[in-house]
Symmetry: C2
């Protein structure tokens, strides 16, 4: 049997884990609800038990390392720090706790970095030395691979594309500033854009964006989410389509600007909003290419090849492979 | 005697070269006018002769390698490609030609990348693994060092901060697009900002920015350059000071945004406009810090330590050291 590692993806709602080989085959997997565990120690124990149970399922196979993807993770320190979506506060020494329980060398990185490693090892970025993965979910995350390695920078927090300011003085962001990309190009941002358009149309006494009716106006406030907007856009709703175009315009310019810094071979879109497929991809590509400096023509924009797979677990496994086995496995 | 290399800085007007040791001491140097040489072969011969003469001056010392910094240089190919400010058109195999004439291994990179290497090896960035040098001259160039190495990306052209679009639909740039940083935060950009302010004041029937008189109005069009604006600002001219503040605002935001991508320990400003010193540095730092995501607080903004030295030749020499001797010299 080929070399196996454990990949663990910690999210605010669910934590998923699995046993993965070098080719990206998931031999066994499991999950648990993150919020069910009051103490961090109890959570770590449950994850470790789940991993052991996965290994038992495949006949007692042995893993060589553990990779963890988590929000607000600091790779250098192996910690999760002040994650707003987790119930344990402060600085959590997760890599150490998991390593002690599982008895294997363990590495930790943030979820977008894990996604970038997964794309490179198992996804559309195979063989690429320079790529970017942008995760468009509740927020916007990003992982940059340059010259074959993850970009961490001085702090370990490099690759915060979601907190590039694209609209000075614009929408208030959770980070305390205004106009960050993630308030425009995330699922949350898409909803805000639709709300602003509805309010503007109200102010003009019109129904939709260009005065034509929009089905989104009839939705109860609480159900106006990115999925509802996606559905409306697919049905040809003009306001929903306009909101997608606006989102793509902001995202495309931000991507062209970041391509000018790191010059990747390709940019991959992942996360829930990337499930919009061509509704988002086509106008974003158009905006990116229109704003691209000629030296970078040819950079590809694609949907992540791992979007509909267990991409986050594969990404975490990719971290374990790259740290434990480098290029030799 | 310690290991010696040759550093060559090719500019549109002058080409400078010298013999440099590992500590950044320039043992001998020379220069020639780039434009005096009609053929590329004649230019290469003159540069090689100059380098040989430098080595002769220090008693026939031997160099181990050559580093060249040049505009529009492609590190991967060793070529200068379609440089608008050089008289030789097309793709110039400069590294190969110099190597053949001088008889030493030769590396070529763009001038801003060389400046970044120089800052790291000889300047304010000694010991830093992550830094950015931004050259503010006629245009804006930038060199990024990440995890100890220059960032080249897929194309070799990574680090084009000057062509990040900061003002969609803004000033026309030489690259064919609009709103690039270099049309705002270069010497050229500062002059454009002053011209726009004078024109706006004219339209309002006022003299200066806030209606107060400005000495810049009395300058003949041809002499309104960055040096004149610097002088006026030092004398307290309100329009000149306002132009500096506007420049700093645009530059500071662009720096905060690029820090969020590569997370350097420090950003160094170089090039002619950086000679403005605190007139530019203080308001740029203020704008950068105001726009910085909390994760990156503590990143330094400084004037290049090589600004008033032969920084470009030292930078080219640093390339030769890093390629030929890595960390062992």
């Amino acid at each position: 049997m080929s070399v196996l590692v454990l990949g663990i993806d910690i999210g605010g709602t669910n934590t998923r884990f699995g046993v993965v080989d070098r080719e990206g085959c998931l031999h066994a997997k499991g999950s648990l609800r993150t919020g069910d565990h009051e103490t961090l120690e109890g959570f770590v124990k449950a994850v470790a038990d789940g991993c052991r149970s996965c290994l038992a399922q495949i006949g007692g196979g042995k893993a060589t390392a553990v990779g963890i993807g988590a929000p607000n993770a600091n790779y250098y320190r192996g910690t999760v720090e002040h994650a707003p979506n987790l119930q344990w506060k402060g600085v959590l020494p997760l890599a150490q706790l998991v390593s002690e329980d599982v008895g294997l060398p363990t590495w930790l990185t943030n979820d977008a970095n894990a996604a970038a490693l997964g794309e490179q090892l198992y996804g559309g970025g195979r063989g690429m030395k320079n790529l970017v993965v942008v995760t468009l979910g509740t927020g916007v995350g990003s992982g940059y691979i340059v010259a074959g390695n993850l970009l961490y920078g001085e702090t370990g927090f490099a690759g915060e594309l979601g907190h590039v300011i694209v609209e000075p003085g614009g929408r208030v962001c959770g980070c305390g500033r205004r106009g960050c990309l993630e308030k425009y190009a995330s699922a949350t941002g898409l909803v805000l854009t639709v709300r602003e358009k509805l309010a503007a149309a109200d102010a003009r006494g019109a129904s939709g964006a260009d005065g034509s009716p929009t089905s989104l106006r009839d939705l109860p406030e609480a159900t106006l989410d990115a999925i509802a907007i996606h559905r409306a856009a697919l049905a040809g709703d003009p306001l929903a389509l306009e909101a997608y175009r606006d989102t793509a315009e902001v995202l495309g310019l931000a991507l062209a600007n970041t391509v000018a810094i790191t010059s990747p071979a390709a940019v991959f879109l992942s996360g829930g909003l990337a499930r919009s497929g061509d509704l988002l991809l086509a106008p974003t590509r158009s905006a990116m290419e229109r704003n691209l400096h000629p030296a970078f023509r040819g950079v590809e924009l694609r949907i992540s090849a791992l979007l509909e797979k267990d991409g986050a677990v594969l990404g975490a496994a990719a971290l374990a492979f790259s740290e434990r086995h480098g290029d030799d496995a």
